[in-house]
């Protein structure tokens, strides 16, 4: 298939992002920039989504573009897993963009930059999910980070937003420097920057060198997915960032981190006879436990969700640990579980944040205490919140349950009973803080009982995410198939 066609989703997004910037300049000081721009961006995402689905049947080739046949170095792979993450990236961008319309109009006079930067962030996620070359992985990871720093500080007149941006930046830049040092050692150990070649040459490399470099690399990835002990940035960044961006960071950034982690673990490292399961299990346990325990005494909704998403990353790491142990035949279950978990997590978390955004627009606060008596002010939002929380805990009939089922199932399949047990225990702990919010919503007394009416767009976003969260559990077969396809192709290339 034509290389340009394989890249068509990325090309579409790039063009639309620059078009948004240009239109913003042309329409400056004009109502059109507020009314039409989000829909231009949304239209671009839809076109890119169609382009991605168009590529789907033809995917699986690794490619780099070369002017002549000599010296071709693979840069990206458009396989099914990459496309899976591209679909996720586009969905995230679309939902985040839509739920930001009202928020941005209310909080910032600049709109064009916001939609353009969100699109660019989505673009970087897409590159990241395809990258099979250390150069490209580093580049797209930094692309994502730099865009995220800017977006975190987007409300520049808000002290907290810019403070969050600075903290995020300082942690992130150091983490990527450390990760890069690991990359450079890996390059030295194998003499190549291409993951496949690295896998081949790794067999003859020195143990200490590989362990040192992979430890450094895992630190960098750990930062991106906010795994303990590299998570300190995330509560601050999540709390200070504009809420739609918090949603983006908690879903997009995390998904991208897992995309790279899976690819590196699957393509480059299996050839190396070192058991990563122990390290990954330790990180998973730490991440879940620290995330859940700290979430218990949070009073700010965004901060609480930050810790909750740290815990969610811990559950996903269980899947990866199960994948690396490879003691039985169906070892790809772990990855398949992670993919489905991420898919469910996307809708659930974006849904929660959509509710938080609506409430922040109306109440001007994200304090959990201010959610008191929400049931009387907006039953719809309250019910939605409960469903999303059920999904985050992993109670049927929700997508989160399906994800956890597969992930824990994979762990049990690989005889990682302790890991799965701690995972289940953690899920039980999480009930406490999620239902702390629910208790406020349903049982706390509040004098102000003016009804809260979300706008049309927000209603649509919440409805879509809610429906998807439920459908994933009730009619989950096609989605499980989707995730299985993506994971299988991946296993086949390896």
């Amino acid at each position: 298939m034509n290389e340009l066609l394989l890249l068509s989703p990325e090309i579409v997004i790039t063009i639309v992002a620059f078009a948004v910037l240009t239109l913003d300049i042309i329409w400056k000081g004009d109502q059109r920039s507020a009314k039409i721009l989000p829909w231009v961006a949304f239209g671009g995402v839809v076109v890119a989504l169609l382009a991605t689905l168009n590529v789907w049947p033809a995917s699986s080739s690794e490619f780099g573009i070369a002017t002549d046949s000599a010296g071709l170095i693979p840069i990206m792979a458009v396989d099914k897993m990459a496309l899976f993450f591209k679909v996720m990236a586009l969905l995230t961008v679309a939902l985040v963009g839509l739920s930001a319309v009202e928020y941005i109009e209310k909080n910032s006079p600049f709109r064009g930059e916001f939609y353009a930067l969100t699109l660019f962030a989505g673009l970087s996620l897409m590159f990241l999910s395809s990258a099979t070359n250390l150069v490209m992985i580093y580049l797209s990871l930094e692309f994502l980070s730099i865009t995220s720093y800017i977006l975190t500080g987007y409300l520049r007149r808000d002290n907290r937003s810019i403070e969050a941006a600075l903290k995020y930046f300082l942690y992130g830049a150091l983490a990527s420097g450390v990760m890069l040092y690991g990359f450079s050692l890996l390059y030295g150990a194998t003499g190549s920057v291409d993951l496949a070649t690295i896998a081949v040459n790794l067999g003859s490399a020195n143990v200490f060198l590989v362990v040192a470099s992979v430890t450094l690399i895992l630190a960098g990835f750990g930062f991106k997915i906010a795994a303990v002990p590299f998570h300190q940035w995330s509560p601050d960044a999540y709390q200070g960032a504009p809420t739609p961006i918090t949603a983006f960071l908690s879903v997009g950034s995390k998904a991208a981190g897992f995309a790279v982690l899976i690819r590196v673990l699957v393509v480059a490292l299996p050839a190396y006879s070192f058991n990563w399961t122990v390290i990954l299990s330790m990180v998973a346990i730490l991440t879940m436990t620290v995330g859940n325990l700290t979430a218990l005494w949070q009073k700010d909704m965004k901060r609480m969700l930050a810790y909750s998403s740290i815990a969610q990353a811990g559950y996903m790491l269980i899947g990866l640990a199960a994948f690396t142990s490879q003691s039985s035949d169906n070892w790809s279950n772990g990855v398949q579980g992670v993919l489905l978990f991420l898919f469910a997590y996307l809708f659930t978390n974006l849904g929660v944040f959509a509710v938080v955004i609506v409430l922040e627009n109306k109440l001007g606060t994200t304090n959990i205490a201010d959610y008191a008596g929400l049931i009387r002010r907006s039953p719809f939002l309250s019910i939605a919140l409960v469903i999303f929380f059920l999904s985050l805990i992993g109670i049927p009939p929700t997508g989160g349950f399906m994800g956890k089922l597969l992930v824990f199932g994979a762990a049990i399949d690989q005889k990682l009973y302790v890991l799965a047990g701690i995972g289940i225990l953690n899920s039980v702990i999480s009930v406490y803080y999620y239902f702390g919010v629910v208790r406020q919503v349903f049982f706390a007394q509040e004098s102000d009982e003016t009804p809260i009416q979300p706008g049309f767009v927000m209603n649509a976003v919440i409805t879509v995410t809610m429906v998807m969260t439920l459908i994933l559990a009730l009619y989950g077969q096609p989605f499980i198939q989707f995730a299985t396809d993506s994971a299988d192709i991946l296993a086949a290339t390896f």
Binding site: A66, G71, P109, T147, Y149, G153, I162, A165
Partner: protein, 176 residues
């Protein structure tokens, strides 16, 4: 024994001079109590690293290092320090409370890294770089690495937009 001038280890001497610049500068960066001096030490260190690239027969990279790091990044940092003179907190301690904790951690890190790189038997290839590396770089950027090259260009535009957006003066609309 007569003195043989061809035995003068010129390359090694240059290496040690450059190391003095790079490492000495780096120590200055992290230890100077004056931020402006830190930035100038950074320039010294970057200069030493540029010298390394020349020794490693990567001349293009050396010039790029001077151009981008010294000519742009270091100047930008100096500019920011000058712009906000109070940033410097002149005379006061520039280290945070945890500095004594990070020192041993970093020492251990250094020891481990040095241990690792010195125990590995590197598969050094005796080959010389083929042909004109500048030409080869050009071919790489328009060949195999075309996509990263384009992505970098997008990234630079994003950084430009974001930098201007974040750092520009307050706009009237924001006051509303």
């Amino acid at each position: 024994m007569p003195f043989d001038p061809s035995q003068i280890p010129i390359v090694q001497i240059v290496f040690f001079v450059m190391t003095a610049c790079a490492i000495g500068g780096a120590i200055g960066v992290v230890s100077s109590p004056n931020l402006f001096h830190s930035a100038l030490y950074l320039v010294l260190s970057l200069f030493g690293v540029a010298g390394y690239y020349v020794l490693l027969s990567a001349g293009f990279l050396a010039v790029v290092q001077l151009m981008v790091y010294v000519g742009a990044i270091a100047i930008l940092i100096l500019f920011a320090i000058m712009f906000a003179r109070r940033l410097m907190g002149q005379g006061e301690n520039q280290n945070n409370q945890q500095w004594w904790l990070s020192l041993p951690i970093v020492m251990i890190l250094f020891a481990v890294l040095v241990g690792v790189v010195n125990t590995v038997s590197w598969p050094v290839s005796g080959a010389e770089p083929t042909g004109d590396t500048v030409m080869e770089l050009g071919h790489a950027f328009l060949g195999s690495y075309l996509i990263p090259f384009e992505v970098v260009s997008i990234l630079l535009s994003v950084a430009l937009i974001g930098g201007i957006f974040l750092a520009r003066e307050k706009v009237e609309a924001e006051e509303a």
